[in-house]
Amino acid sequence: MCTMIAERASIQGSGKTEKAWISIDSCDIYYDHPDHVDSEHAITLSFSNQIDPINSRISLELTPESAKEIITKIQVALSKGDSLER
């Protein structure tokens, strides 16, 4: 709420809402007080598309430790995927 730590990544992806899969073209990443997860601060990933950035939003709150764990596991998965494609 108060850190104003915010980064935006332009991405190509899809997100699943309650109704359907939708195109996603950006992810805002915040480090701030969370709305729900029980942590003093959290990494919030806010995925959306610029056609309707407000109503397309899909968000996720992670403790900082969980965010680091996910980064690590993504890199492991990408590395394994890269070796498959060779």
Partner: protein, 254 residues
């Protein structure tokens, strides 16, 4: 409300209204008014970064229940139409709304209240988080407000690297211009503002002989009266509300 007894009449009306901002356009606000006989002071609520949300609607009704005309402008009205947290996320992605726009929206709300027959002529501000910061900034920008409640206002003390187009001035640098009375509510475990920043805020107020009082709570961090979040601290929150109503009753009803 003070001196309330169980046989007393209580009533309020709360609804969305539109008012003219001093920005030249119209925006929504949530307005709550007591239905009792008499004239009432006003509290303008300045919502926090998470948005014009249900929590702030409940705070607005709380003030009306305690005998205030309470109005909470939707500072994010222009940014879009959606659930409050989705609109707030969009605002956050753009770096927030400008201080200049917030000041004009709050002044517009004050102009709206001025015209109400039930208004007693005294206006206070209540804000938490960015709203607390805006409240203090407004106190430094105009002598319109008699009492300001600043709850954990982050970025009242801003360093050079934080200054930007939307927040071009550190509110603390304007302390000499502060007008009215200030109540500050802070948690000692907060990191924005942290205790050193609150110390600095207080030091500047003291140096300028301003009418202020701070209450600083152990065992509480940022947003400790947000009962809908894990950061809620019941004992500190209940005590802070007593302090808030004592302060506002004293400054706005005499």
């Amino acid at each position: 409300m003070k001196n309330y007894k169980t046989h007393d009449y209580e009533g309020l009306i709360a609804e969305t209204i539109q008012f003219d901002s001093a920005n030249g356009d119209s925006i929504n606000a949530y307005l709550a008014k007591p239905l009792n006989e008499g004239k009432f002071p006003c509290v303008i609520l300045i919502h926090h970064l998470p948005g014009w949300d249900e929590l702030y609607k409940e705070f607005t009704r709380k003030f009306a229940h305690h005998g205030y005309i309470a109005i909470c402008p939707d500072l994010y009205f222009r940014e879009g139409n959606g659930s409050p947290d989705d609109v707030a996320a969009e605002v956050r992605s753009k770096g927030g709304v400008s201080d200049e726009q917030v000041i004009k929206d709050i002044l517009g709300a004050a102009n709206y209240i001025d015209k109400l027959d039930i208004f007693n002529g005294k206006t206070g501000l209540f804000g938490t988080c960015s709203g607390g910061r805006h409240g203090f900034l407004l106190g430094c920008s105009t002598d319109r407000f008699d009492a300001i409640v600043e709850c954990w206002g982050g970025n009242v003390i801003m360093d050079e690297s934080s200054i930007n187009d939307k927040q071009p001035v550190s509110p603390s640098s304007l302390t000499e211009n502060f007008s009215g009375s200030l109540l500050g509510i802070f948690g000692n475990e907060d990191t924005s503002p942290n205790p050193k920043q609150v110390d600095e805020h207080e030091k500047l107020l003291k140096a300028e002989n301003k009418d202020y009082v701070f209450h600083r709570y152990d065992g509480a961090g940022h947003g400790f009266n947000y009962y809908d979040r894990p950061i809620y601290r019941q004992e500190q929150s209940v005590d802070s509300w007593v302090k808030i109503f004592d302060f506002l009753d004293n400054k706005l009803r005499s």
